[in-house]
Symmetry: C2
Amino acid sequence: MALAHAILTILTDTPSSGYDIGKRFEEQVSCFWKASSQQIYRELTKMEQQGWLQHEVIAQTGKPDKKLYSLTAAGRQEWQRWYTAPTEPTPIREDLLVKVLAGAHVAPEQVRQAVLLRRHRHAQQLQLYRRTEAEEFPPNAMTRSQQFSYLTLRRGLRYEQDWLAWCDEVLTFLDEQAAADSPSALPDTSALPLQ
Amino acid sequence: MALAHAILTILTDTPSSGYDIGKRFEEQVSCFWKASSQQIYRELTKMEQQGWLQHEVIAQTGKPDKKLYSLTAAGRQEWQRWYTAPTEPTPIREDLLVKVLAGAHVAPEQVRQAVLLRRHRHAQQLQLYRRTEAEEFPPNAMTRSQQFSYLTLRRGLRYEQDWLAWCDEVLTFLDEQAAADSPSALPDTSALPLQ
DNA sequence: TTGACATATTCAACAAGTTGAGTATAGACT
DNA sequence: AGTCTATACTCAACTTGTTGAATATGTCAA
């Protein structure tokens, strides 16, 4: 039911077509939700069958017709119900952590490579968020709606920073291990790699 | 294919039954992967069909028979291939962020409630991880395998701490808004809620 | 002795997410 | 003239994840 509620939330803001919703997902919401257009269209059909939405067909010149969806009273009510119900955290499924967990069974270089690759991805994503922050959220001139939007971007920023910091922890650990194992290492830095 | 590789990883360590794997998922891996036993059994069957695993039936006294799965050469090879292939970050789907995004459309108290509920959950999870840390990872006496395991716990600890910090950011923002809106507020603390 | 709990696995149905193709119009670029 | 992109939607097949029930044995405690 989760995607349905994300869609309801967008339609709370303004009536939209499936295509519009898809774009808003990509632009605004991609930091914490991803949905393919196929998924969105399918969900919209289901939600209309449930009576949460209605649509009217809008003829456009130069573009294909579109179905403009808007909330029904039942939809608005369902949205309110959802809003006050507790939200569960996303189940996390992280390949990289599985790899690190098994780190003792592979060459240290393999662990390092895996972590480095992911570190790079998070660094890029962080940069992207930083750009968005600079471009779309002027420190002293945000509307109320923008302020909330900014709070969600803050989550994205934190998330990426936290990943980077953890990757660095792992890399530091690997460095210390390597130093301790190599004959030319300083002898007294091997213990207590993390605390 | 992701669950399959998590299972391969566990079997790299030691041959196990579906039930054993389920328990290790719950105990060790639950911080970053969740799988129901049904899912695991289904996946094991599929993996055996692909030739990654083989099993032998072990008769036990006082307990039902079990199927002890172990890696084949092909399975080990596939695991190696996966290990060196880049890992994508999990797609995140966070209801709570959708709620905060729409914060301007509901009463501030509703946002606060939603955030407080989640904050509580993360605080509890953090405490749980802290206990695990204290009980299972003695600072100076970890095996190599434990050290890697500890690194994954570190990810969990960080993750929960980061959530708490963000929740507090949102709550602070809401407090400042409330103070700015109420007549008895200090007049000059309203601007620049975050930076 | 009855019921809860741990061990150990299977089947069925469904919901959610992914992949890929297909249909259409229209403007812009080459 | 042909291709690319943007708009706008649909259908089908598949994989993955969730929920609930069913089966079977043995131990431990109320």
